[in-house]
Amino acid sequence: MSISLKNISKSYNKVSALQNITFNVEKGELFGLIGPDGAGKTTLFRILTTLLIANKGTASVAGFDVFKDYKQIRNNVGYMPGKFSLYQDLTVEENLNFFATIFGTTIEENYDLIKDIYVQIEPFKNRRAGKLSGGMKQKLALCCALIHKPKVLFLDEPTTGVDPVSRKEFWEMLKRLQKKGITILVSTPYMDEAALCDRIALIQDGEILEIDTPKEIVKHYPKAIYNVSANNMYKLIKCLKNYEFMYSVYPFGEFVHYTDKRDLFKPNDLIEFLKQNELQNIEISETQPTIEDTFMELAK
């Protein structure tokens, strides 16, 4: 077991940030912590990286206790905080060199591990880190977190504020790192990134809602979901919310995700109801639940 948490709780001035968090991450697993801002993800990361002490519970990383063996943990993990935390006035190469030195290693020694990523930013190695684009910064930060060949990698919202192209590349890199045996704990507020993890924990308001593989999690969704669309989105949502058999109504891009209270739902009944309310171009079709649907159902 690479990361193990048991009943971890943490509060700041009586405001509870984490409550009884328990889960394990296997060696070499890519584990995702999925939840919105303020869910407690960062607090959890800081406890695991020995920066904060939990009020209750125990946790270990790479076999070391987060409280007693904090020094060993600091030697064995790579950490990329949510905020871009490199020296903006140092160049790409200087940043990497600095982090290599303070971990007592050199760029050459572990070049294999970062090679894939570093070649993409190498053309800019004499540029100051502050002048890099968002995607480049993430890549550099990842290189710096990897330079000492950590056993466990903690990435706190690495893709926030990064455009889709860079995000995709970033996840591809994580997959490759995973193959090299590094355990990765990554957090993200984006539900669509959850599918790229081996297992995920859905977290909200300091509590874990569910832990499983992305495929299993959506199977837990208790109802059939329907995509509903019509000519006026605002009226459609309003009407659906007034429908007596409505169980849940959530706008979902160009559609509304609708679930019904009854076991036997006849779409035509709903179409009739919407027509009576002067909606046109009504379409209803069954669809697959997403992780976001599951999240909302659980967080309700």
Partner: protein, 368 residues
């Protein structure tokens, strides 16, 4: 060790890439010493005065000539009656009026006693005081040369002699003060800002989650500023020696050693500030408010400690700058050695140790 050197290297990158701070760092001492040396001074030069001469005879003309020919005064105006005195002060240019009584020569010769009234503009009391002293001195001098032949019974002539700063040059007073302020500010403010900057940027988080030990981070932050402050100290001493002809009577080596001690005191104070402040802004405010003002007001740099109310006199003892000013004044002006200032030195050493111990106790190996 390699880690540590890597850390210091990084600190130097930060310092040399931030051109603006670097300019302030090295520009400030030069500007300050020049300001204090040239512009702010207790001496008087070419003060404008006005004369109200009610007798207009040979003696008064002689005296007026003597005063006008001195480098301290220039006669700006002659007024005709006492009503004009207030008007001329209100204009602001004239700082003093000499009022010679009627029949000055006659009285001086027949009665051996004539009066000159010195009226000064005391909106600036220090200057007013100095002016009246200077005028009195000239008058005394005049009467002495005129009365060489007359022997008076029982005359006590007090002769004051100022030692260690015989010309009463105010720059000699200011150099130690300015040097103290600059070393204090540069060392304390810069280190506290550079540590809190890492907290603000979030890089402190990464440094904490690394095998670097707390004391390595702290010492790594301090070493570059020791170098910079030493350079500053040298610049100030050289400037004061060659531009203001300030003597260094005592040992240069001792002066250097004491300066380094004070730099380290200030640096440890800076570290202490950084452990209690979370942002650069707070660090800067604390450095300015808690360091600069007391250093200027309570260290004896501008206002003599002996003329302060007792509570403030006691308070001044906890200001490191006070002790350093005593030390460098002693070395530079009096030329004394360690045997006379070991007590002050010991106080600084004790303060430094105290700051360091508290800082290390307060330095967090975690975020809270």
């Amino acid at each position: 060790m390699k880690r540590f050197i890597g850390f210091i290297e990084k600190e130097f990158y930060h310092i040399f890439r931030d051109k603006r701070s670097l300019f302030i760092l090295f520009g400030m001492p030069i500007v300050q010493i020049m300001l204090f040396g040239f512009a702010i001074t207790n001496e008087i030069n070419n003060v404008d005065i006005a004369i109200l001469n009610n007798s207009k005879d040979t003696k008064t003309e002689e005296i007026i000539n003597k005063i006008a020919s001195s480098k301290y005064f220039s006669v700006e105006d002659f007024i005709q009656n006492e009503n004009e005195i207030e008007a001329i002060f209100k204009k602001g240019k004239v700082k003093a009026v000499l009022n010679f009584e009627t029949d000055f020569s006659k009285k001086l010769i027949t009665e051996n006693n004539a009066t000159v009234q010195i009226i000064t503009d005391a909106t600036d009391p220090n200057t007013a005081n100095t002016i009246s002293n200077y005028v009195s001195a000239i008058l005394q001098n005049y009467s002495k040369t005129n009365n060489k032949n007359i022997k008076l019974a029982y005359q006590i002539v007090p002769k004051t002699r100022m030692v260690y700063n015989q010309e009463l040059k105010s720059v000699f007073m200011f150099v130690p003060g300015v040097m103290t302020i600059i070393l204090m500010l540069v060392s304390a403010m810069m280190t506290s800002i550079s540590i809190t900057r890492e907290k603000e940027l979030g890089t402190m988080e990464i440094l904490l989650v690394s095998p670097l030990k707390p004391f390595q981070v702290i010492i790594g932050k301090v070493v570059p500023y020791i170098f910079l402050s030493i350079i500053n100290a040298i610049v100030i001493i050289v400037l004061s020696m060659f531009v203001f002809k300030m003597p260094v009577e005592g040992s240069l080596f001792l002066l250097g050693a004491e300066s380094i001690l004070f730099i380290i005191t200030s640096l440890s104070l800076g570290i202490l500030i950084s452990t209690v402040s979370a942002t650069q802004q707070t660090a800067m405010m604390i450095s300015l408010m808690a360091l600069m003002l007391p250093v200027i007001l309570l260290s004896g740099f501008i206002f003599p400690i002996t003329s302060m109310p007792v509570p403030l006199q006691i308070l001044s003892n906890i200001i490191p700058a006070k002790w350093f000013i005593i030390i460098i004044k002693g070395i530079m002006l009096k030329g004394i050695g360690l045997t006379f200032i070991w007590k002050e030195t010991l106080i600084l050493v004790a303060m430094t140790l105290f700051f360091i111990v508290v800082s290390i106790k307060k330095y967090k190996i975690r975020l809270e």
